[in-house]
């Protein structure tokens, strides 16, 4: 990751209309994934198998909400409000991947571990792909998120080793992988402005290259644990494309739940508990 900004770095005041639309798409993809992933992970708080694993998964959820806030803050700098980003945004405009919106079955800790693993592997790749972004405000924020992601991957890997150590655990993890893998592929689906995102240098890798890197990362690692990784070209993809705002029913239920209070109390602005950044 470069410490000094690119010489062709673009500040937000210099964005053309097309550039702004592209950078917004990139930021919403990042932010929505983090927010929805965290929202699902918090379902494990108090329900995790041990007090230690409870703390760990809560900690990860907390980090991901924090990252979501980093990216939504950048959108706020572009003129969005928090309600426009979250509370009043139509659920069909959200662009998170289908992986993160999936509900957890009670007790399916294997899903939580494997989902975290697949997600965090992709997260590293996509953060590295924006570390050298031409969008200056984004470049400033990537380092912190990358540091935390290293811990998340370690957590997921430790658990994967343990849960695949016996036949029962491995069978459960294989089921989870078969379920999650097709949804995880949507992490790398393009949105309408994908070409612009790369052309303007907001992201320095194409989604196709990132998907390949991800498959090459998770494939050998999971196979070394005795799991069969499905062929990405053979799996049936779930309905909905995530990135284009089409989602599974589970997303709409989740959205209704987490926006319920906001709709009911009708505050002028959502509470901000820290100093606002310019």
């Amino acid at each position: 990751m470069s410490e000094t900004p690119r010489s062709d770095a673009i500040d937000r005041r210099e964005l053309s209309a097309e550039q702004q639309a592209a950078v917004e798409e990139l930021l919403f993809r990042l932010a929505d994934d983090e927010f929805v992933h965290a929202e699902r992970l918090t379902e494990w708080q108090i329900y995790a198998p041990t007090l230690e694993s409870d703390l760990a998964i809560a900690n990860i959820a907390q980090d991901e909400f924090g990252h979501a806030r980093l990216w939504y803050d950048l959108l706020k700098q572009l003129g969005y409000t928090e309600p426009e980003c979250l509370w009043e945004r139509d659920p069909t405009e959200w662009t998170h991947s289908l992986l993160v919106e999936r509900p957890f079955d009670a007790g399916d800790w294997g899903d939580a571990v494997l989902r975290g693993y697949l997600y965090d592997a992709a997260e590293r790749i996509r953060l590295e792909a924006v570390a050298d972004t031409s969008y200056a405000p984004l470049a400033d924020r990537v380092g912190k998120a990358l540091e935390e992601e290293a811990y998340h991957r370690e957590h997921a890997t430790n658990w994967l080793e343990r849960l695949t150590a016996d036949d029962d655990g491995r069978a459960r993890m294989q089921d989870a992988l078969d379920e999650l893998f097709p949804a995880a592929l949507s992490l790398f689906d393009p949105g309408p402005r994908e070409d612009d995102i790369v052309a303007f240098g907001f992201r320095t890798e194409s989604l196709a290259a990132m998907r390949t890197e991800w498959l090459e990362t998770i494939g050998p690692a999971l196979e070394a644990l005795g799991l069969d990784v499905p062929d990405p070209d053979q799996v049936a993809r779930p309905n909905g494309r995530g990135r284009y705002g089409t989602h599974t029913d589970a997303w709409h239920d989740l959205y209704d739940e987490f926006t319920a209070t906001y709709r009911e109390v009708d505050f002028e602005t959502p509470a901000q508990l820290r100093a606002t950044e310019e």
């Binding site: 918090t42 108090i46 995790a48 907390q62 909400f65 924090g66 928090e82 016996d166 459960r172 901000q272």
Partner: protein, 312 residues
């Protein structure tokens, strides 16, 4: 050490794992700390609900952090209880899931609205703060140490709850009315948080004689009322007419205990209230659902190499 010596020496942070303490002391301390630890876990069941309902991203972050703190407190407290050598943490957690473990009355009432967040996070946690502050001088040193950290963090929780209350009471008229209705329901439960008057409490005498407990229920309730009635009123809440409060000769506030539903309280304390069954049942089902994970972990740990690591 015999009981007489324990009573003679009883004082703040007087005893620790190095002391040879009588079984009666160790059991009483275990019961008290286990109750406290269980309450942290079961309080989390309520706070967890608020995370999903939080109407701002910052509130959501504060809420997940709070639930995390509570599990951290449970961890600390079970450890402080374990050092007494009466029960292991696994035994205490099992008792919680099977319905043998006891916990605070307020956490036997399931919640389903954001309006209840300040009831738990401001009033109940505020009440807990009153109690916990006095427990910094408990005679079992590991418990007192745990209280140092717990009180520090609870201070933030109460501020979080207060901030939610302030915001809701600055909302629309409908929001304020809804807040008042919620308060009316919770207020008697909160008053009962401190338990019955001293002469009706089963375990108090001994716990005080050996320095485990350093304030009476009455003192704690009085201290809570003096501090929290003005705060509730400041934000525009009206204190319900019943249960009646009155001023003592010394100017402190007290409750007419006859106005409170003690049958419900004692049903709760036996884990037999409807809400108790719901909350404990939820705990049991959730723990059963991840039993396979704990079994996998045990397999792993018993077969792991010379430097076993724990997944956390």
């Amino acid at each position: 050490m015999d009981l007489e010596t324990v009573m003679e020496r009883a004082g703040p942070r007087e005893f620790g794992p190095g002391d040879d303490l009588p079984e009666k002391y160790r059991k009483a301390a275990t019961r008290m700390i286990q109750f406290h630890a269980n309450s942290e876990v079961m309080g989390g069941y309520l706070d967890k609900t608020f995370t999903r309902k939080a109407p701002s991203l910052d509130r959501k972050l504060a809420n997940t952090a709070k639930v995390q703190d509570e599990i951290g407190h449970a961890q600390l407290l079970y450890r402080a209880a374990e050092t007494l050598g009466v029960k292991t943490r696994a035994e205490m957690l099992d008792e919680l899931a099977t319905g043998d473990g006891k916990f605070l009355n307020c956490f036997h009432y399931p919640v389903d609205s954001w309006y209840e967040a300040p009831m738990i996070d401001f009033f109940v946690d505020g009440g807990a703060m009153r109690r916990q502050a006095t427990l910094k001088s408990t005679s079992w040193t590991p418990y007192a140490h745990a209280m140092d950290k717990v009180c520090f963090e609870e201070g933030f929780h109460v501020k979080h709850g207060e901030s939610i209350l302030r915001e809701l009471m600055n909302g629309s008229k409908a929001t304020q009315e809804r807040m008042q209705e919620t308060f009316d329901v919770w207020w008697p439960r909160i008053l009962q948080f401190f338990g019955p008057t001293n002469d009706e409490s089963v375990h108090d005498d001994f716990a005080q004689a050996v320095g485990l407990k350093t304030a009476t229920n009455d003192e704690l309730r009085t201290s809570f009322l003096n501090m929290y009635i003005p705060k509730a009123e400041k934000y525009g809440l009206e204190i319900p007419e019943y249960p009646r409060l009155y001023e003592r000769d010394d100017g402190t506030m007290a409750v007419r205990e006859d106005d409170l539903d003690w049958e419900e309280f004692w049903t709760i304390s036996r884990n037999e209230y409807e809400g108790s069954k719901e909350q404990i049942g939820s705990r049991r089902r959730r723990q059963d659902a991840v039993e396979w994970v704990r079994e996998s972990l045990e397999t792993w740990e018993s077969s792991a190499g010379p430097t076993p690591q724990t997944a956390d």
